[in-house]
Amino acid sequence: MEHILTPKVEEVKLLDRYTAKKPAIGTLYLTATHLIFVETSCNTRKETWMLHHLIATVEKLPLTAMGCPLHISCKNFHVAHFVISSERDCQNVHQSLVRLSQPGKVEELYAFLYNPKQDEDERRNGWGFIDSAMDFKRMGLPNEFWEMTDLNKNYELCSTYHSELGIPKTASKGTVFGSAKFRSRGRIPTLSYYHKESNAAICRCSQPLSGLSARCVEDEEMLQAISRANPKSTFMYVVDTRPKLNAMANRAAGKGYENEDNYSNICFQFVGIENIHVMRNSLQKLLEVCAMKSPTMSDYLTGLENSGWLRHIKAVMDAGVFLAKAVAEDKASVLVHCSDGWDRTAQVCSLASILLDPFYRTIKGLMVLIEKEWISMGHKFTQRCGHVDGDPKEVSPVFTQFIECLWNLMEQYPCGFEYNEKYLLEIHNHVYSCQFGNFIGNCQREREEMRLYERTFSVWPFLWENRHQYRNPLHKCSLGREVLRPSTLPLNFKFWCGMYNHFDKGMQPKQSILEHLLTITQKKAEGEKKMTDLQIQLAVMDGVLADQGSPTGTPPEQTSLAPVSVSHTAENAKPLMNGAAVEEAEIELVPTAGSEKMEPVAIEN
């Protein structure tokens, strides 16, 4: 706590950014993990909590008549403008926050302090909750064409990949290792998604070290092997997600892209997603638009356009759609890469998976997907999210863009997803909060070296426990194995107010359809239970009344059946719209459940 110079400041104002409303007055506390503002001006105790690690920038502005302004903006797009009366206090708070928000080393992150009072077993089980290797089994691996290999078990093949990789069966060890030498950072072509229905696969890798003319027989064999693993198709796509110009520039540095002449039967394609630096700057501009004080519609729309943000979102989506279409319609396999294959490649492979496979549209499926395509394939979370003080040029909202694409899909397919917007926001929040260990570290090997699995908790069981909040009440499983074919016309992409202005409650709809429906769903569960209870009670009474006239007493041994039939009723009661089902259930219940309490009543009579 040596970094906290002033733990408590009173008479602090919190300004409302958009309205001319009176600022809230309260007390500002700095704890080891959070900044807390407690409003004293209103009758109800209102608290604003900000996790230090979520703070992206903290800025002290020149002294004004009101006091000394302190602007804080967080990685989850929470922005707060405080005014502290004493400049010295402000200085202290500023200095503390600068230090606290940018830990020098990973060990200072919240996850290493966070202890939800679970025991060691629970912690261990928690880490086993999501297993990306299981997902390959789900896809049908190993099969005739694909297998899992442990060639990377000591991270010798590729230090940033997971230890278990899916590769074509016909690729020999020599091919794999040879190909690794020809791929940037050894990130060989490996399986991302296998589409059972078409036998086509999505594979991912980094750029080839082709330079201006180099070639590598093993790499060519590797692609051949991938192609062969989909025997019905005569060709495969190779998709470079970079703009052509960027890829060409890389050639001069000894990297580049596949020459169609050297690889047999490939169809090579650029899809033009910009690099991390362009994306970082674009987000910066977008946030400036969000922060504008009473902008005109024209300011806003022009700002939105100039930020380029939605253009980038569309580019990522377009690429995802291209991949899914290649696999589902052309039934051709696709190999995807960008430069290193851990940013754009992760975005488009995971999007394509969601389009192709409804499993990833479920609460658990999305966990698996993130674990598989992002965490285990070496998306550099520590660097991209700026978890610790480091090179600001490595920070980029790559994961945020993926989540936003997903939100756009959910807007187009309101019944297609088991999860809702809150789930996306919560995941996004946890990627940056470092409350859990999942998103700390840049690759699997780093996580093992940090012993994260022993020292921190996994976020997935935590989210799973709260899954009722993240359910989409409109979700329909009946959509089945349908491949999503979203429209990517520009007019289908909206600014995501729920993300970027999430904390500006005034801008959100004042009544939420989602919350409303979630409440109803809850009521429904209660109502169904209540109905079952009442039906049993009624049946008991009915049984009694019916029994008076009829000589058929219920055999006592049936009593034990009662609980079974109760659950049976609950099931039968579900199709309420079909009244018949309910009626039937009631009738069925009479003799069995009735017998349960019949005896004592009968005795009374």
């Binding site: 902008p295 005109t296 409109l474 429209s487 709809p509 429906l517 429904k524 109502g527």
Partner: protein, 549 residues
């Protein structure tokens, strides 16, 4: 004139109809006096019945002897008809062109339409000013219903009956009318029950360049103020536009002559600019290029969203003056038939929960638009595709509906109706079988005797099955004032109208149906539970009775 003269080819076989996101249909095309009909003559396939009045523009193309007519509708739908035979195609095209642009009111479809449904309640009598006034009388005695305009001589765009302050006599009204644009003297628009404040509307005062004043006008509006209280005048024009109006005999209320009133200027664009904006917006929505920048810049350049924001902001201001400041408000622009009505009607949506019901919203449209003299026929005779030079066309009412949709989106549980109702009103203002939106004022409608010769839209809407269709399943009566956010981030493009034909509605419809299903199921479940409870209670009493026996 006989329609038959205009229809050279009444029937063509083998016509192919293409619509976005729907399967193509091959069938027989028929032209009647009012409809374009395409029938596949197969069971279970949809027929197309398109009112000629709904056609905004057509384009024709030929490839060999196969002609293609692109029909662009006022509801923004675009359909394509492939017609074999050049002559047939040309004949059809020229007939559509003539039939869709008939100017003569006497040939309009509502005068020919005979309802296929039973009229339970005649919509022409559903919202009479006398009835509305009864509600007002139950709340206050400070107002009276004046029939000074009974023969439409004082103000041609006002209805025969208007609500005015009790202490102001008809003579004063006549003099005030002479001082207001179009004779539109200040009349009551809304009475805020909560605090007794009122909103009035009028045309601009005719002060001219030499600052003419009118004691009667001053007396009239001052009569609405409580002792010692000030009121607000919301002028829907910018200061400079209002200044310029003086040169043409118009103007605004000066501080000197209206010391008890504070004037606030807001900038709502005039109608010709709004029409331009609609055309640009629709053009942007039809742009098939895949460039995000192009879309956003076209959307911005259309200024449509700007208008939405401005109108909503002005309405919020009026509502704020009444509810928060506890002051009475007078709203006017130039004529007082367009932007004025947008502001007064939206302010009521914000303030008055009754306006958020299906009946209440109809009453609002009737009172604040139809009776208040919004020239529907002029404003809605062309939509976004028309090639003819716009005359008085302007999407003033559409903008109002758009603003209502914005509020509905922000308060999805506070309206008894869903956006279907708003879309339906949009469609019927541009082309309809009902007489409701014909004519430009109450006087015109009365001259045409529409209430006898046509069916009212409200007769259709208020049938139980239609009410059901237009109902918002999420509705829970909310008696509060609802303040919408007017931040640009909070205002979206109204997809239900502008993107309606641009994408498949399957997924959105499915979601809506699912939502209805969930809510319906829950309702039935609760009913069922209550029934069971009752049964149980009954049995218990019976049992208790039997025990006593």
């Amino acid at each position: 004139m006989e329609f038959a003269e205009l229809i050279k080819t009444p029937r063509v076989d083998g016509v192919v109809l293409r619509r976005p996101f729907l399967p193509t249909v091959e069938g027989t095309l028929c032209l009647t006096g009012h409809h374009l009909i395409l029938s596949s003559r197969q069971d279970n396939t949809e027929e197309l019945w398109l009112l000629h009045a709904n056609i905004d523009a057509i384009e024709k193309r030929f490839v060999g002897s196969l002609g293609t007519i692109i029909v662009k509708c006022k509801d923004l739908r675009v359909i394509q008809l492939d017609i074999p035979g050049m002559e047939e195609c040309l004949n059809i095209a020229s007939s559509i062109e003539v039939l869709s642009t008939l100017d003569s009111v006497s040939l309009m479809y509502p005068l020919f339409y005979r309802p296929m449904f039973q009229v339970i309640e005649d919509g022409w009598k559903s919202f009479l000013p006398e009835d509305a006034f009864k509600d007002l009388e139950s709340m206050t005695e400070e107002w009276r219903l004046s029939d000074v305009n009974k023969d439409y001589s004082v103000c041609s765009s006002y209805p025969p009956l208007v609500a005015v302050p009790k202490d102001v006599d008809d003579d004063t009204l006549r003099k005030a009318a002479a001082f207001r644009h179009g004779g539109r003297f200040p009349v009551l628009s809304y009475y805020h029950k909560k605090n007794g404040m009122v909103m009035m509307r009028s045309g601009q005062p005719l002060t001219g360049t030499n600052g003419r004043r009118c004691k009667e006008d001053e007396k009239l509006i001052n009569a609405t103020l409580r002792a010692g209280k000030r009121g607000y005048i919301i002028d829907t024009r910018t200061v400079s536009v209002a200044q310029q109006a003086k040169a043409r005999g118009g103007g605004f209320e000066s501080e000197a002559n209206y010391p008890q009133w504070r004037r606030i200027h807001k900038a709502i664009e005039r109608s010709s600019i709004l029409q331009e904006s609609l055309i640009k917006l629709v053009e942007a929505c039809n742009d098939q290029s895949h460039s995000m920048d192009r879309w956003l810049s076209k959307l911005e350049a259309s200024n449509w969203q700007t208008h939405v924001k401005e109108i909503l902001t002005s309405a919020c201001l009026a509502a704020q003056c009444i509810d928060r400041e506890g002051a009475s408000v007078l709203v006017h622009g130039t004529e007082g038939t367009d932007s004025t009505l947008q502001v007064t009607s939206l302010a009521q949506i914000i303030l008055d929960p009754a306006c958020r019901t299906i009946q209440g919203f109809q009453a609002l449209v009737e009172r604040e638009w139809l009776q208040a003299g919004h020239p529907f026929q002029q404003r809605c005779s062309q939509s976004a595709y028309s090639n003819s030079k716009p005359r008085c066309e302007a999407p003033v009412f559409l903008l109002f509906l758009d603003c209502v949709w914005q509020i509905l989106r922000q308060f999805p549980c506070s309206f008894q109706f869903s956006q279907h109702f708003l879309v339906l009103l949009f469609e019927h203002t541009y082309a309809s079988q009902f007489g409701t939106f014909m004519g430009n004022s109450a006087s015109e409608r009365s001259k045409l005797n529409l209430s006898q010769k046509t069916v009212s839209l409200w007769s259709w809407v208020n049938r139980p099955q239609e009410v059901e269709r237009l109902s918002n399943p999420l509705y829970e009566a909310n008696c509060l004032v609802i303040w919408p956010s007017v931040a640009p981030q909070s205002l979206l493009l109204w997809e239900g109208v502008f993107l309606r034909w641009k994408r498949s509605s399957r997924c959105l419809d499915e979601a809506y149906d699912e939502m209805v299903h969930i809510i319906q199921y829950n309702k039935e479940l609760q009913n069922k539970v209550n029934n069971l409870r009752r049964q149980l209670a009954q049995l218990e009493t019976e049992e208790a009775g039997e025990k006593e026996d």
